[in-house]
Every structure is written in structure tokens, then in C-alpha cells.
């Protein structure tokens, strides 16, 4: 089943609304973690919060992931090698304190395996063409190695 997650901090109704429309139109089965205990749906399977083991199971058994542009989700996608479609939260719509998710999404646009949806329509296009999505590579970047070296040097000095 396709897995969608909005992270652990805040609900993201714009994403869940869009998924509801798409699931209805395309007859898809989607499990969505919403961070929103009051929300119900007759097309999506909803969970407000999930314990880490269930979250890991849902993530690993999904063909691809749909999510907010949270760093934790991006790193999970890399860890489990799952193609990831992200929709960034926007501060002007009251979806987060600031627009850091737009910055994250802009940063992610060039990364293999991570697909940035600008809105519900591009989200639907990506989902419909999910067969062509590639998983992210698990390899660490040169920049990450520098950071690890810096911390290790500090710790051992």
C-alpha cells in the first residue's frame, strides 16, 4: 500500500485533502499518517500517529512514499531506499512556523529519488507515473564525510 506521512509535529490537511481526491479518482489504496486525531476518511486509511515499528513497517512495505518536506522523512526514504514525493508546507497557509520546507524542497529537487510536487496536480502526475520513480541512493555525500570528520576530530581531541 502507498504510504503517506506528514511527520510527528503538525497536521497537513492540504496534503491529505489532495490525496483523498487522487485516491478517489484513481482508485488507489493509501495509508496516511496525519498527525490529526479528529480526521476521518472513507477513501484513505488514516492513522494520526504511529509507533516507530509500525511506521518502519509501513515505510518499508510501500512501493513509494508521499510526504511533507521534512528532513526526517527524507532521511528515512534514503535509509529504506524508497522513492519519495514531497509537498512542502507553506507558512503563508499556516502550515508551519516558516518556509524552511520550501528551502528543503528546493534543495532536494536535484537529488535522485526525491520528487518535488508543487501542488495537487503535479502530485497526481507523479503518483500516476510512479512506475518511473527511482529510489534515492544510500551513499553519503562528500559534505557528510567532512561533517562526520569534524565531529570525530572534536570528540577525540
Amino acid at each position: 500500500m502507498i504510504f503517506a506521512t506528514v511527520g510527528t509535529q503538525l497536521p497537513f490537511p492540504r496534503l491529505i485533502d489532495a490525496l483523498e481526491d487522487i485516491a478517489k479518482r484513481r482508485d488507489l489504496r493509501i495509508l496516511a499518517q496525519t498527525c490529526d486525531a479528529g480526521r476521518q476518511s472513507d477513501v484513505l486509511t488514516l492513522r494520526s500517529k504511529m509507533p516507530p515499528d509500525e511506521f518502519a513497517d509501513a515505510f518499508q512495505s510501500a512501493p513509494f512514499i508521499i510526504a511533507h518536506a521534512g528532513i526526517g522523512t527524507v532521511l528515512s526514504a534514503r535509509r529504506y531506499r524508497k522513492p519519495l514525493i514531497i509537498l512542502a508546507r507553506r507558512a503563508d497557509l499556516g502550515e508551519h512556523r516558516n518556509d524552511h520546507q520550501l528551502a528543503t524542497a528546493a534543495q532536494m529537487r536535484e537529488r535522485p529519488g526525491i520528487y518535488v510536487a508543487g501542488n495537487g496536480d503535479s502530485l497526481e502526475d507523479l503518483i500516476v507515473n510512479s512506475g518511473s520513480l527511482k529510489p534515492p541512493s544510500a551513499e553519503g555525500s562528500a559534505s557528510k564525510r567532512l561533517l562526520v570528520d569534524c565531529i570525530r576530530t572534536f570528540i577525540t581531541q
Binding site: 509507533p51 522523512t73 534543495q107 557528510k144
Partner: protein
């Protein structure tokens, strides 16, 4: 002692574990069941908190203090958020060297916790070169 709140902060802490995997590390996070997902056995769960929840903040600080007194870490490393800042403060009190690694999500300025941590931590890293321009905040690479 390595401290990170559940979610992106914790994930970043674990992304960097190569930096401290050779050491005797005690992990601290805020969500039950999370360390098991990373096959960790040396860990403590503390109360999550944000700056609007003073009681949770006190409970979190108490949990961190007890852990720090039991484990006597030489180094406290954290990726945030507020529990990480509390850990830096407690680390200073017990004489540990302290490292704050600001979340890569903070692409425009240091997080609020990071701004305070930068005045106290021995090493304060941003994962963005342009954010690290001020004061003693350094840029030495990023997890991505």
C-alpha cells in the same frame, strides 16, 4: 551522550553516528521504540518539550540531568531541538565538552535553540555556509 528529539533531529543524529560509533555512546531521545529501530540498546527516553510547555521542559531537564549524572559523559553532542539545548546546558554544568549541530532544516538562520546553544556550546555547527557566517558558528559540511 548523544541527544536528539524524535523526528528529523534524531534522524540527523543517527546519520552522523560514524563520528562517534567508536566511542561508548549513550543515546537520548523522546519517543519510546525509536532507538530499537536503529538497533540501539544504550539509551534513555526523556519527555519531549517545546518552549510553551514549562512543566514538560522541567521534566525533560530532570531526565537529562539524571542521565548525565549516571553516565558522566565526556562529550555531549546534539542535533536539537529544545531537549538538545537543555542537554548542552547540563553538559556544561557537569564539565563535558559540548557540540550543537543545527538541523539542516534551518537554511536561513540558526534555530532559536541553536542561537542560544551557540553561546554555550564548545562547538556549534550549522549545515549551511551562509548561516554560519556569524560569531562562533562554523560550517563544516552537511548530512545531505
Amino acid at each position: 551522550m548523544a541527544v536528539g528529539s524524535a523526528g528529523g533531529h534524531w534522524q540527523q543524529l543517527l546519520e552522523l553516528r560514524d563520528a562517534y560509533v567508536a566511542e561508548d555512546v549513550h543515546y537520548v531521545t523522546t519517543l519510546k521504540g525509536l532507538p530499537e529501530q536503529f538497533n540501539l540498546t544504550n539509551y534513555t527516553i526523556v519527555r519531549d518539550c517545546n518552549r510553551d510547555q514549562k512543566l514538560d521542559m522541567a521534566i525533560c531537564a530532570f531526565g537529562l540531568l539524571i542521565t548525565a549524572l549516571r553516565k558522566r559523559p565526556n562529550v555531549v553532542v546534539t542535533t536539537g531541538a529544545l531537549p538538545g539545548l537543555l542537554a548542552i546546558m547540563i553538559g556544561k554544568v557537569i564539565g563535558a565538552r559540548t557540540i550543537w549541530i543545527d538541523s539542516i532544516a534551518n537554511a536561513e538562520e540558526l534555530s532559536l535553540s541553536g542561537q542560544i546553544a551557540s553561546r554555550h556550546a564548545d562547538l556549534c555547527l550549522s549545515q549551511w555556509a551562509h548561516v554560519a557566517k556569524e560569531g562562533k558558528v562554523q560550517f563544516e559540511g552537511s548530512i545531505l
